[in-house]
């Protein structure tokens, strides 16, 4: 029991991470676009779980609310309306495709193994306990909201303009067909 409580966080982490990897693999290997989208939803959920393990409940909730709840529903919507059927003829399976995939995979593993042995630069590293103190002071939501509406207000507003431009662009593109 003592061992279990001591390693509970690690066990929970591996449970979420394992399902995340499996579902991500399922997402890219499924032929049916709807099944693929659903596996992606599962992956997003596992990532939300990992955020909770990292004590970032606010991010976890936003992950579910924005990605799983809104964006993926729209994805499904589009897939169903387009009626993509049972997989296209252009499958990415040639020797060149496999080779490129293998090279990229090796590259990613190399990067990860280098990252594992590196210390984060002192400029972005926080002394231990800073986040906990910040969360105790501002609350879970405030820790994210205060910098967003304080130090980074202008970039934040510019991002919203960017999204607005994207919406207007989408409407204009749709209008051409109407």
């Amino acid at each position: 029991m003592a061992w279990l409580t001591g390693h509970l966080t690690v066990l929970v982490f591996w449970a979420f991470a394992g399902v995340a990897i499996v579902s991500a693999a399922m997402c890219v290997t499924r032929r049916n676009p709807v099944a693929s989208a659903l596996w992606l939803v599962v992956t997003l959920f596992q990532l939300a779980g990992l955020f909770v393990v990292l004590d970032a409940q606010f991010l976890a909730v936003l992950q579910v609310l924005v990605y799983a709840g809104a964006i993926m529903v729209l994805f499904l919507f589009v897939i169903m309306l387009l009626n993509l059927g049972q997989g296209g003829p252009h499958d990415f399976k040639g020797v060149i495709g496999l080779g490129v995939g293998a090279v990229l995979a090796v590259l990613l593993l190399l990067q990860l193994s280098v990252l594992r042995h590196l210390e984060p630069p002192a400029a972005i590293a926080l002394p231990p306990g800073t986040m906990a103190a910040q969360q105790a002071h501002d609350g879970l939501v405030g820790t994210v909201a205060r910098p967003l509406f304080d130090a980074y207000l202008v970039p934040f507003e510019i991002t919203s303009l960017l999204l607005l431009a994207a919406i207007v662009g989408a409407v204009v593109l749709a209008m051409r067909k109407l």
Partner: protein
């Protein structure tokens, strides 16, 4: 740790059972109230006053044959009913339903998980409810079912925005997203329904749309779509969609009671939220919470058997052209008023502030009713009398 685990497991089991039994009784209540409104008797044969009717229905659904459409996507078809009913039950986890219960091992908060992001958790989970319906519609491989599913997703996404906006007002006033804090705030000053009346109205309308109840049950409009997204479902899977609908209603009612009607707060007294916790307090506050939730459930049923169904374009126009802009305007006004009272005059949320906000809401409410009326009912009769 062990105490936390044991008490959590007990709470989960009790809440799950209570909701399931509640849902079963609610299906009976719906039919009895409907019968009463239509001057009939309703189901009263099985057990005293028909109380065992839900058990008979459940048994019937278990024993019926399950049919699978030949061209259906099998796994999605099977998964959809479960997906539609899980979110409805998950949401209830963060709603506090009574005052804390003292035990000999320590104080047990009467909520399954009092998350620090409780309120956002509800929004997140309830936004997942749409998956079950959309997938049911799509996987059935039936045009009517697909139309129902698409209608449902469009409707739920549209009204989620209005719903989220209306609750921003609550968060502005509470300054916190933990539901137990929201309740504590209301116990201090007064229920948010007084200080945020319009937000409650918008929330109520959106909650009707979110749970696909009349007058917004377009996804299963039987005159147009046979039965909408669950056309191809039979036996227990069909029943699961019903359980999902009713547990959604229970959660939405409990949420309205929590956000706007003080949760488990007993009105006109501070006896329940001050002093030492006791078993009596827990029981009484639980009863009060159930009464509030029950009142909203009755309103749901009452509305269903009173109002006709909206047309689809009317539904979209109401969501996007009326509710969303008016909520944005309302939010701006309320934010300004709260900023002036709280930031400028330094008022905390107490009785005078609640009443001041209530007065502001009354003015806005009259203006909103006058505007929505468009010279048909209220102003129409006034104008006629003047002429």
């Amino acid at each position: 740790m062990t105490f936390f685990l044991v008490s959590s497991i007990i709470k989960i089991v009790v809440v799950f059972t209570a909701i399931m039994v509640g849902v079963a009784l609610l299906t009976l209540a719906e039919r009895r109230i409907c019968a009463w409104m239509q001057d009939r008797l309703g189901p009263n044969r099985v057990g005293p006053q028909g109380l065992l009717q839900p058990a008979a229905d459940g048994l019937k659904n278990f024993l019926k044959e399950e049919t699978y459409p030949a061209q259906a996507d099998f796994w999605t078809f099977v998964l959809a009913p479960a997906l539609s009913f899980t979110p409805a039950l998950l949401t209830f986890a963060v709603i506090p339903f009574a005052a804390p219960l003292p035990t000999q091992w320590g104080l047990v908060p009467m909520v399954v998980a009092d998350l620090p992001v409780g309120f956002l958790y509800i929004l997140a989970i309830s936004s997942l409810g749409v998956y079950g319906i959309v997938l049911a519609g799509w996987s059935s491989n039936n045009k009517y079912a697909l139309l129902g599913g698409l209608r449902a997703s469009a409707q739920m996404i549209s009204y989620e925005i209005a719903m989220g906006m209306s609750t921003v007002a609550v968060l502005l006033l509470a300054g916190n997203v933990t539901l137990s804090q929201v309740i504590a705030q209301q116990q201090q000053g007064g229920w948010f329904v007084i200080s945020l009346t319009l937000a409650f109205l918008v929330f109520f309308i959106s909650a009707l749309a979110e749970t696909n109840r009349l007058p917004f049950d377009l996804p299963e409009a039987e005159g147009e779509l046979i039965a909408g997204y669950h056309t191809e479902y039979s036996a227990m899977k069909f029943s699961m969609f019903y359980i999902a609908e009713y547990s959604n209603m229970v959660t939405a009612s409990a949420l309205m009671a929590t956000l706007f009607f003080g949760g488990w707060d007993i009105p006109f007294t501070h006896w329940d939220d001050t002093g030492d916790p006791s078993v009596l307090k827990t029981l009484l506050t639980l009863v009060v919470f159930c009464i509030k939730t029950g009142a909203f459930l009755f309103t749901y049923i009452w509305i269903r058997w009173t109002l006709p169904r909206f047309r689809y374009d009317q539904l979209m126009a109401l969501g996007w052209k009326v509710l969303l802009p008016s909520t944005l305007v309302y939010l701006t006004i309320m934010a300004t008023v709260i900023w002036y009272l709280h930031g400028h005059l330094g008022w905390a949320y107490d009785r005078p502030m609640a009443l001041t906000l209530g007065a502001a809401n009354l003015v806005l409410l009259v203006a909103a009713v006058w505007g929505l009326d468009r010279g048909r009912i209220v102003s129409g009769s006034v104008a006629r009398r003047a002429a």
